[in-house]
Symmetry: C2
Subunit: 357 residues, 2 copies
């Protein structure tokens, strides 16, 4: 506790979406206040935050005032402009730190980092030109997937290549952005580990969740995941290795493909993660509180689960399910307060909690 920020301290959060919103609520449970920095007007997180700054990441005066108004800075998304981080970091600690952002902002840097740790990743090759892509396809084969190196999320900035005939269209989809060709991994299912590392170096992992994606967007996470005990231990070991290598502080989402007897790291996200939302109703300390604990220097929760949970996202018109969900026993609803329902937009999620016997 000696290094912990005192109760009542202000946590600055970059990004005012649903993750910032749930981080803000978790901070309140621990007696901290939050200040949201977000370019978009009326951010969902602002509804439950103590303060909101509406400004772009190029607004140096706003960044400076924000940094000076808070005691520590964290974020809900990894694609924060480097120049903004430089300004903020001159005044306040940013947790998780810059190294985690540097690594996770670029798919190739990330895969190289993971490989150097001895972890298995999908085969990959950098692609900028048609010649690069041709050479990469020679090496990796099809089916494979071309992705922008930076700024991709929820399946955006990705194009599948089933045969060489798809190559030109896929490259055109990248619109000239530096890209990476990734080979397909033959996996039975995807799991993720929500892992946390404290300021003092302690690591705690929640139970792995089993993820189902539809159209590149997470649909459900089920806990416990289908996973032999040995791979469950491997998953936790892999996550711990990554966090320790980065001297990470905070919660990280680590997505893993299960391929028979091994785990292949799909990607890492240096923040609270959609596949960790089940913890809100399955654990005494959820991923949001765990992240806040790490960021302010408190001891971590142990990640133990008191209930089984199936989390399901509410995307776009899924909001039509809300009236029925409100009538269903053991369903915990979490809506994000977004003004407008749009196709593909994450509007909320719900956790189906299995009662104890």
């Amino acid at each position: 506790m000696t290094d912990a920020l005192p109760l009542g301290s202000i946590i600055g959060i970059l990004g005012g979406g649903q993750l910032g919103r749930m981080l803000s609520v978790a901070a309140s449970r621990l007696g901290y206040k939050t200040h949201i920095f977000e370019p978009g007007a009326n951010p969902p997180a602002g509804q439950v935050a103590d303060q909101v700054t509406t400004a772009v990441y190029e607004d140096e005066a706003a960044l400076l005032a924000f940094a000076q108004s808070v005691d520590v800075i964290t974020y809900e998304f990894e694609n924060i402009p480097t120049a903004a981080l430089d300004i903020l970091e001159a005044h306040r600690s940013i947790r998780p730190g810059r190294e985690a952002l540097r690594v996770s902002q670029d798919r190739i840097t990330e895969k190289e980092f993971l490989s150097e740790l001895g972890l298995e990743v999908a085969p990959f090759a950098a692609v900028q030109t048609a010649d690069d892509l041709h050479a990469a396809l020679e090496k990796i084969g099809t089916p494979s997937i071309l992705k922008t190196r930076r700024f991709g999320y929820d399946g955006k900035g990705q194009a599948r290549i089933n045969s060489a005939a798809d190559a030109a269209a896929a490259l055109s989809d990248m619109a000239g952005s530096p890209s990476v060709l990734e080979g397909f991994v033959k996996f039975s299912h995807e799991i993720s580990v929500i892992a946390a590392r404290g300021l003092n170096g302690e690591v705690a992992c929640f139970d792995p969740g089993e993820n189902v994606h539809v159209g590149g967007i997470l649909r459900t996470t089920t806990v416990p995941a289908t996973l032999p005990a040995r791979l469950r231990m491997d998953a936790v070991f892999i996550a711990s290795r990554i966090l320790n290598a980065l001297e990470y502080v905070g919660v990280m989402g680590v997505e893993l493909f299960v391929t028979g007897n091994t785990l292949v790291v799909n990607e890492i996200a240096p923040r609270v993660h959609n596949s960790g939302h089940w913890t809100q109703n399955g654990c005494a300390v959820d991923q949001f509180e765990q992240h806040i604990r790490a960021v302010v220097g408190l001891p971590l929760g142990d990640g133990k689960r008191h209930s089984d949970v199936v989390m399901e996202n509410l995307i776009g018109d899924d909001m039509d399910k809300v009236p029925a969900l409100l009538q269903e026993p053991h369903v915990a609803l979490h809506l994000y307060g977004k003004a407008e329902t749009k196709s593909g937009r994450k509007m909320g999620h719900f956790n189906r909690v299995a009662p104890s016997a």
Copy 2:
């Protein structure tokens, strides 16, 4: 759902303490915004609310502006001045309604209301003068307890009378306020039922909790309570009867003494209740969300419990326990963001959750 306020509507909350704070967080989970009205500066609820009005209940312009800025009004405490309610109600619905406030604001009105419903209450008599008290003691005997009719909470405004010799001092403690002498009920323990009634008249109760008070302040609530099945059903029946008689909308705390084979109603509180905090970690829909659901016209949660819980308050220096609690498995901490720790002040609470097998 037809009568429910649309998502994004604004719920006005009178009172900015911890109950308003947790109501505000619950509203956010359902996609609603909150506006807090509170005389004190920097209220705990304001840290997680969309808007805050700092004004006294005598400020008619502030009340009017507040009412016009919200879609419905609720409250976290029952002692709201009648004149303020009159102004607010001219513009927006107040839920729970005025009848519940009228009844619960005066201990004698409340006991008469409960008696007329055929429910058992402690023997009582109105006291204003020394002669009244003498007559009341003749009728009720000692030990008994003199309480102010209005504005009492957490043991404040109460004086115990062990023998006639204590009478004068007890009356002096009331400082001229209209009072009530209550006989002692020989009870084995106290339970409370957190009950809710929806806009459409449906009633749902959480499992009764068993309360332990120290110095007039709630210390712990344990769920499940020690209670034979028949009394468990009686408790729910009593609570339902009260809510229906008041055509109540919202959550109510009903405190009951267990005396062998019967239940005696101690008091009712027309709001979310400290003895219902366990629901935050024991149920998919907690008492705060339940109250918000009722107030906006959504269907109620069914009150089912997925885990056993022991709730314990953190009062004053109990905050010294926080470092140890942060390290304990299955403990969910809820701090209130109050700037200053004072003796007797409720600073937070924690729920010990029993994991499923």
